[in-house]
Amino acid sequence: MLTEILFYAFAAVLLGAAIGVIASRNPVHSVLFLVLCFFNSAVLWLLIEAEFLAIVLVLVYVGAVMVLFLFVVMMLDINIEKLREGFTRYAPLGALVAVIVVVEMYYVLWVKRLGMDVTGGTAPLPADYSNTAAIGEVLYTDYVYPFQLAAVVLLIAIVAAIALTMRRREGLRTQDVSRQVAVRRQDRVRLVKVEPEVEQ
């Protein structure tokens, strides 16, 4: 009972925030609504006892990805009028996507009504059940090759992103820290013995 109340409360906030993302006039507010969305979906995951995924969602998306997103949006000088111009043009496409999503959701509910258990049991797990250990076990045994493959793809993406944006410019002054640290006194300072001038 309590779980249902919590679910509907957080789901309502999630939907409200999702509407906020597309409805708010200020892009920074939109990004913040998106953060709220992620946070609420994490709570929904907590409710189905997927603690590890929930916390990782907050850690990765809210803690890192959205920070950079916010960073970029704050610095951009976005012309909101221009963004709104295309609304009627893209409205049919948006409506089509919405219809597809509704049909898919209806299909899932319909299959469930037939009495087929597609999502697996949702019986409460024992208190000492560790989500993290379970995921780790599956990830590094059954799915070790897909997992490694995904890691390599990500690595390639990182390398590509750096290769695309990094260029060497001529005449750039940079510091070489190891050379700075390696400097000895003799390289920089010369001790000169000057005979004192004695006034005659």
Binding site: V35, V62, G63, T132, V177
Partner: protein, 357 residues
């Protein structure tokens, strides 16, 4: 008294556990807030003595001459609370007032999973360390929003610096924590403490020394403390992200979370690397003595030590330049942690040290 006991035992079990949990939460929060208050005093006193000054020495408790200076934090709080909260004319009013809360809430909520003693922890959850990492990564939103919503260039510059810095050092911190996970075999903070039983040399700092150092340095950087406090940088950007704040908003945005986070990082360093509530003399001295028993006393002592190091660093080192901070984070600390994780993997494989069993 008897009637109170009767009322208590008459309550349903749920209500009783609710009341007890609420009391425990309030107790921990009060403890953290008081610790914050006296850390501000300790900071001024310690740095004062290091610079051959006396520090605050006027406001005494109950008029006792010997307690002079001890009531300074209360005087500061009262002063800050009675000051006017100014909102700049072109600020985004809602976000400007929301930002302090976004910094404050994660700083306090993270305390839920810290094990204070063998018996007492508010929420003994399996993924405790991940929970803390997730919560501490939220604090950066408050800082960015504070800087952006104020609609001031100085504040915005401070916010940008702080955001980039916190994202950079979170990685080094995360890798250091991965090393602890490998050693302890658990994400639960209580389990991590229990895996270090057996005196000071069995604690993780010994085998994970590079990670310990990296963790504390990135902890200092995460909390935007000197020498990494370019987010404030009063000599170039006045006071950074909180330049437009005043009164209670300033206190909740800047003072409380910053010190609460300092104490949190200290507590985590103590729990992960210095055996939390375990005694350093365990196994070296007779078991029956108080000083070999695990208790909150040891955790308190270790946290105090780390806080002192924080203040000592602040009194000693000049501020880093921004590009040097970035270089240290990305090019020094992260490679060090990666290298040590590889070394640790080899140690686990050959069952060296704590992995001998």
């Amino acid at each position: 008294m008897d009637s109170l006991v009767a009322i208590w035992s008459g309550l349903p079990t749920d209500a009783r556990s609710l009341i007890l949990t609420t009391l425990a939460v309030v107790g921990v929060m009060l403890g953290v807030v008081m610790a914050v208050a006296f850390t501000t005093l300790a900071e001024r006193k310690v740095i004062g003595y290091m610079q051959l000054r006396l520090g605050p020495n006027r406001i005494s408790l109950f008029g006792l001459p010997i307690l002079r200076g001890l009531a300074q934090p209360f005087a500061d709080v009262i002063k800050l609370l009675f000051k006017e909260v100014l909102v700049p004319a072109n600020a985004d009013r809602k976000l400007f007032l929301l930002a302090p809360l976004i910094v404050l809430v994660p700083a306090l909520a993270a305390w839920a999973v810290i094990p204070f003693s063998p018996e007492f922890v508010l929420a003994d959850i399996n993924a405790g360390l991940l929970f803390i990492l997730a919560l501490t990564s939220l604090g950066v939103y408050g800082v960015i929003l504070a800087g952006w919503a104020a609609n001031s260039k100085y504040a915005f510059l401070g916010a940008m610096r702080s955001a980039a810095q916190m994202v950079a050092y979170e990685l080094a911190m995360g890798f250091a924590i991965v090393g602890v996970l490998m050693a302890a075999g658990s994400l639960n903070l209580g389990e991590i403490v229990r895996s270090q039983q057996g005196g000071a040399l069995a604690w993780h700092w010994f085998w994970l020394f590079p990670l310990f150092v990296v963790y504390f340095i990135s902890g200092v950087a995460e909390t935007n403390r000197a020498p990494f406090d370019v987010a404030e940088g009063e000599s170039e950007i006045v006071a950074g992200f909180h330049v437009e704040y005043s009164g209670a908003a300033f206190a909740t945005l800047f003072a409380l979370p910053e010190y609460a986070n300092m104490i949190l990082i200290s507590a985590l360093a103590a729990v992960m690397f210095l055996g939390g509530w375990l005694s350093p003399f365990e196994g070296y001295l007779p078991d029956a003595w108080f000083i070999t028993q695990p208790s909150f006393f040891w955790l308190f002592l270790k946290i105090g030590g780390f806080i002192f190091i924080y203040l000592w660093i602040r009194a000693t080192f000049p501020r880093y330049r921004y590009d040097q901070i970035m270089r240290l984070g990305w090019k020094v600390l992260i490679p060090v942690t990666l290298a040590w994780l590889a070394v640790e993997g080899v140690m686990v494989w050959f069952k060296v040290g704590p992995w001998a069993a």
